[in-house]
Amino acid sequence: MTSFVSARLSRRRFLGTAAVTAGTLAGVGTLLDACSSGGTGPTSSGPTTLTIMGTSGEITPAYIKEFEKLNPGVKINFLTSDQTRLNAMFAAGHPPDIIRGFGIDSAFYNSRGLALNLDPYLAKSSVLKTDDLLPIQNLFRWDGKQTGQGPHYGLVKDWSLDGAIWADSAIFQQAGVPVPSSTNPLTYDAYLELGKKLTVRQGGKIQVYGIYPGWPSAGSYGTGVPAAPAIYQMVQQQGGSVFSSDLTKADFTTPEVFKALQWYIDYANAHVGPSPLDPDATGSWQLYTAKRMALLQLGYWFGGGITSDTGPNAATLQKASVLLPAPQMGPHRISSTFAGTGYWIAAKSQHPDVAWKFMEYFMTGTPATDRATSGWGIPALKQFVSLMPQKTDMQKEAFQEVQSEMQYFAPLRVSPYVGIAAVDTILGQALQQVLHNQLTLPAAAKQITDNVNLLMQQSQQAVG
């Protein structure tokens, strides 16, 4: 009997121990997974792993395979862009080696010392030299105080004059309205008037929207350009600036900014395009390809979308689409980029030399050639501009338009202390309240100014 009792106790003890062991192993495994950053650290045996955070449409499996073939001993660990994950990886001290970002917002990371200075690599490179870089590459430059000067902390992969407008000339024809010039820009007032003439309504619904200039935090009104950089551009066209000369303060109550904000309010109240008063669930891209939008302000890059569209209206759209220059609000003609998408290397990258090799490949190799010929953006290196597509009439005209408008390119004055997304969100919330008569426009402008300055103040403290 004694042996039976002790046998029962042993089995129970065994079960208890097994439960503890299993739980501990599971817990340790979970913790190890949570701490994992994608394995950028060198291993005692096996290849060097380069972690890249980007989009799979730009860094395709085929490009990864080709790079790995050209660089035996290097394995790429690809992560889809995710801001939350990026923050966590930085907080853990193991950021990705290469990170996708926008040149226009690069100062946020540069001011915090998070990006690697690429000038030493540019000086040594045999395929990627400073002389090859177009002025757009200045978006990733940082001199410690402002963007546009100093060393390069990233490289733009391609870009667009994002204020340019795609026009569906077939809708113009149906409305009996002449298509505007593709060399002389519209004024914003004329742009809005065109929207009123081209909008087609039926029984309380809108069948065809006249224009879409984007809207702050473009959400249900469709994917469109964010309004914040568009407003910066409108202000600069009038000779003003949203930010102070040292970029530490913002002022949305100046006459120039007020005029830009008023235009957006007038646009929404005219019901000629998606806005908080006319939300659209389908998206501006879909509206245009469904021939329900006459003028879509998305920039040159959308030409790639029109060309690659396979919907029922694809062929008609490719014949009817015309690229028009960015509208102007003042005497200084400016047509800028609202993004400047590119990649940068983390200052804490454990493999900066290998990361640079990938940058060289991505900026000058097969991916660069494919990008240039696709029409999805203007190349950021001189040697690829001639590869821009000019097969169809639409592509030829768009190319000509870009060439003639490029001379008016000027970078937007953007502060390193507040991001585009933050300003866009603050603008969106304030303008909504104006549209619903909860705030007057002057009060909204003050609210925007106060909220943006609060963020800027805290950002300056964080930068140190």
Partner: protein
Amino acid sequence: MIRVQPGQTELPPAVHQPRQQRRRGWKRYSSRTFYLFILPWLAGFLGLTLIPLIYALLVSFTNFDGISPHWHWVGLSNYRELLRNTDTWYSLGRTLFFTVLAVPLNVAGGLGLAMLLNERVKAVGVLRTIFYVPSIVPVVASAIMWRLIFDRDVGVLNAVLERLRIPVITWLVDPTVFYALLIMILWGLGGGMVISLAALQGIPQELEEAAMVDGANGWQIFRRVTLPLLSPVLFFQVVTGSITSLQIFVQPLLLAGNGGGVQGLGGSVPRGDFFYMINVIQQFLVFDRFGYGSAMLWIFFLVILAITLLLFRSSSFWVYYEADHDHE
């Protein structure tokens, strides 16, 4: 009682040992085994709940921006700012308003459906499934679907209104968007229905029959017999429903649409749907204010705790447990 014979030097066999001794050994052993078995959950709770909570509390006293290596202790300034900020109070107010509407409608609607489907009719199983399925459709899919349904120009809802010669409604703007969201939430009534149905089927029929025999009509039976017996389950639904509703953010965010990525997060949400958690997400992911956002979350935790405690306190007035002697 053990009798030890004179000269006996050995104790009788174990089977004759006193029971008291064996119970003490087993009690000590059962506690240890208990803790050993809950250790995995305890480790998870510590590592994935308690430690992050404490970390968030510490971050709430700093100006951490989520990415910068330089951040500073700011004391209570995040808390002072959020208590003074009009957006905090506005978003909290909208959240409470939504909860006060959504929870009773959900619970009452689920109960009503359960009562209708508690009958023995043909194909009642199919009907129950049909009503239940919407509650298991993924939130993202249902939000995208409802956004298309509510679209003014191409949505099916306005197409029906047009057929009925009723003017179309722009659903996704203030103030109608709030009610569009409620409709979307109530579409998932089936989850509550299943719980209420299970509770209804647990009510002994003889109680209702006895009431009928005593001359009670349908409403009196429901009011005096069914409802009190259902009250514990309804209380459970009210508490869990309130906690869920207070934290709502996915549905209003998706209903408003998002231009993609962080850019539009929360900024496109109509003012009527600007709930507290959307405000919090904006602070973290758009404004990079991790410290401030953490402070907002801790205040919200206290608000939810207070509301839950209030509900528990109120339960003594309207929740009846069968073994509850206080209500006898």
